[in-house]
Assembly symmetry: C2
Homo-oligomer: 354 residues x 2
DNA sequence: CTGAAAGCGCTTACAG
DNA sequence: CTGAAAGCGCTTACAG
């Protein structure tokens, strides 16, 4: 047995005694600092390995008065949607849990319809020194630029909500978008017949080729083609998010068609529901995204049939905790951490935790 | 402003200085120990309140070499079902996260088909001293007796999986059983027509009047009556859990009836699915409980249509973390913490986290 | 009822 | 390249 069971008894003191050095030298090796002869270093490392030494985190953080600072770069809650309230809540929750351990979390919120505000806040993060960053890379190019700067400074960063492939992030925490669209189709399939018509609705101001809504749409369509169902699927891309615009576009899209089901690829589903209600249309099944106040109102009254949710609060919470575990406990972190794909109905919504 | 922003600078030393006493006396007041004159105590408490003093948890746990011990009293994994593997995993996960802070978790597993084993393990817990207990009160009377003993010793305890009303537990963490049955009915309602027949199946060895499966059945029935649907609902209580017995009973229950949907009130749904498959019955919709290996196999192949899950792993995780937060951070704990009611299908099961 | 001192297991200057 | 000493903010005997 090389294993040591009296873990509690092994500390820097014991290592120093065995290596015939002072604890300061042990500390230097432990933190990979310079100023230790290779010979001493090797000897100490051997002892550390042999004893399977685990540093006492509490003593470490107590002695080193250093406070670890985490920066959070996510969209602010807007009048349009309070979706980002959930991740923020999760962040704050994690913050409360770990602040006793000397961790500080600072929030930099930007306007998700305004690239410049993202850029400005990213610059603010870089102006100061942070030990880790959690961000929602809403703007792909700008985000890439930002994380490259982080990389240069050796600042670890984690993405939530959507991923940016090709970066060196510590982790991506969020949905598997394709799969969630696929599931949406599967649910749809329960509620309609083969000959029914489907309308996919994308409502978003910003919409480039990498947009994550398109991944959901892909998944949605894939379900039907993979299962040999040749449903008739129409599509409406709506770029203006105000109600009159949406109304106009929807009216157009539904004209002369016999749509039985609408799949809205994001949280704007409540606007669609409002339109259907005001138009007195009652026989269209509605599936959309996200557990937000506006949507729940319609879900309750069964105007929306299903909401697909991806635990935005937990994304924020996990993001901070991953960073904390990485920085404090040197824990290894999953490169991608997919959120569960939750289905919310009027029956279970009261038990849902975002 | 009575608030103090330099929280970091306020410690026992500062309090002692202001009160003109030694830090030992401050410590006595902080921990409500005897041996301090009322006058001194009041003075110190006033200062503590005024400064909004928050003890440094790391220093506290480091100085007090005392290790906090938590006992976990839950069923063991049996050959019949590995359901309890999930809570155990959650417990271990929490344990790993907090062991650096001087918390120890000891597991006492019992056989859920054997009251005597519960009794024996409960006695083992009481023999030693623990600072907190997490238990699944599978046997109501025995559990009541046990927690009364805890109460007498001032040991806080938390229930998971099912509640025991009338006790003084710190918290109940688990499903709202009635609601989950209600949801089961709601899902059922999507998949069948008004004239279709339903069969409720309870499979359990132990089954008294307080049994939690009955709460699910109640909820299930309530949905239909509350929504004015007069479905024909039959019921099969199966007390022997081996396959031949279940097969016999199911054959009987399905005889001469035109059952379109079966609702199994617990994780034994896989046995029912096996029966249906072996009997070549393909047109019966099947809804049941729990994300366990046996069930997932059938779910994947769409032999089971829906599984309702209640995050057993998180129940174990939360249970330990609640106790930890209570013991270490003196955090206030929710008296009941209902788990979300998750719906699992063949599409989203791979993203489900138990 | 109260206080001075040692110590928890580390890190941080500082001195050599 | 290395070590002795002070200190992080508490708790724990021990002495009075």
């Amino acid at each position: 047995m090389t294993e040591n069971n009296d873990t509690e008894l092994v500390g820097v003191k014991e290592i120093a005694r065995r290596a015939n050095v002072s604890i300061a030298t042990v500390d230097r090796v432990l933190h990979n600092r310079t100023g230790v002869s290779l010979k001493t270093k090797d000897k100490i490392n051997a002892i550390i390995a042999e004893l399977d030494y685990r540093p006492n985190i509490m003593a470490r953080r107590l002695a080193s008065k250093k406070v670890l600072r985490i920066a959070v770069l996510i969209p602010s809650v807007s009048s349009e949607t309070d979706y980002w309230d959930a991740p923020l809540t999760g962040v704050s929750q994690a913050e409360a849990e770990i602040k006793a351990y000397g961790i500080t979390v600072e929030k930099f919120l930007f306007d998700q319809n305004d690239k410049a505000s993202f850029h400005a806040q990213a610059r603010n993060v870089l102006k100061d020194y942070y030990d880790g960053v959690l961000l929602a890379p809403m703007f792909v190019e700008e985000s890439k630029e930002f994380v490259e700067a982080c990389q240069k400074r050796d600042i670890p960063y984690i993405f939530i909500n959507s991923d940016v492939p090709g970066t060196n992030c510590l982790s991506y925490i969020g949905p598997d978008l394709y799969r969630s669209g696929y599931l949406g189709a599967h649910l749809a399939n329960y509620l309609i017949n083969n000959e029914d018509k489907i309308l996919i609705v994308n409502i978003s101001q910003e919409m480039d080729n990498h947009h994550h809504l398109l991944r959901k749409e892909e998944g949605f369509r894939a379900y039907f083609s993979e299962n040999g169902k040749s449903m008739s699927i129409a599509k409406a891309d709506i770029r203006r998010t105000d109600y009159p615009s949406v109304k106009k576009e929807l009216t157009l899209a539904l004209q002369a068609k016999d749509v039985r089901l609408i799949f809205v690829t994001n949280s704007r589903v409540s606007v669609v529901s409002r339109f259907l209600e005001e138009s007195g249309i009652r026989d269209i099944v509605l599936i959309g995204y996200d557990f937000i106040k506006e949507n729940i109102d319609y879900l309750k009254r069964q105007k929306i049939d299903f909401l697909i949710c991806q635990k935005p609060q937990e994304q924020g919470y996990r993001g901070i905790m991953f960073l904390y575990n990485h920085l404090v406990h040197s824990a290894s972190i999953d490169r991608t951490y997919y959120m569960p794909i939750d289905i919310i109905t009027c029956e279970n919504y009261q038990f849902y935790r975002n």
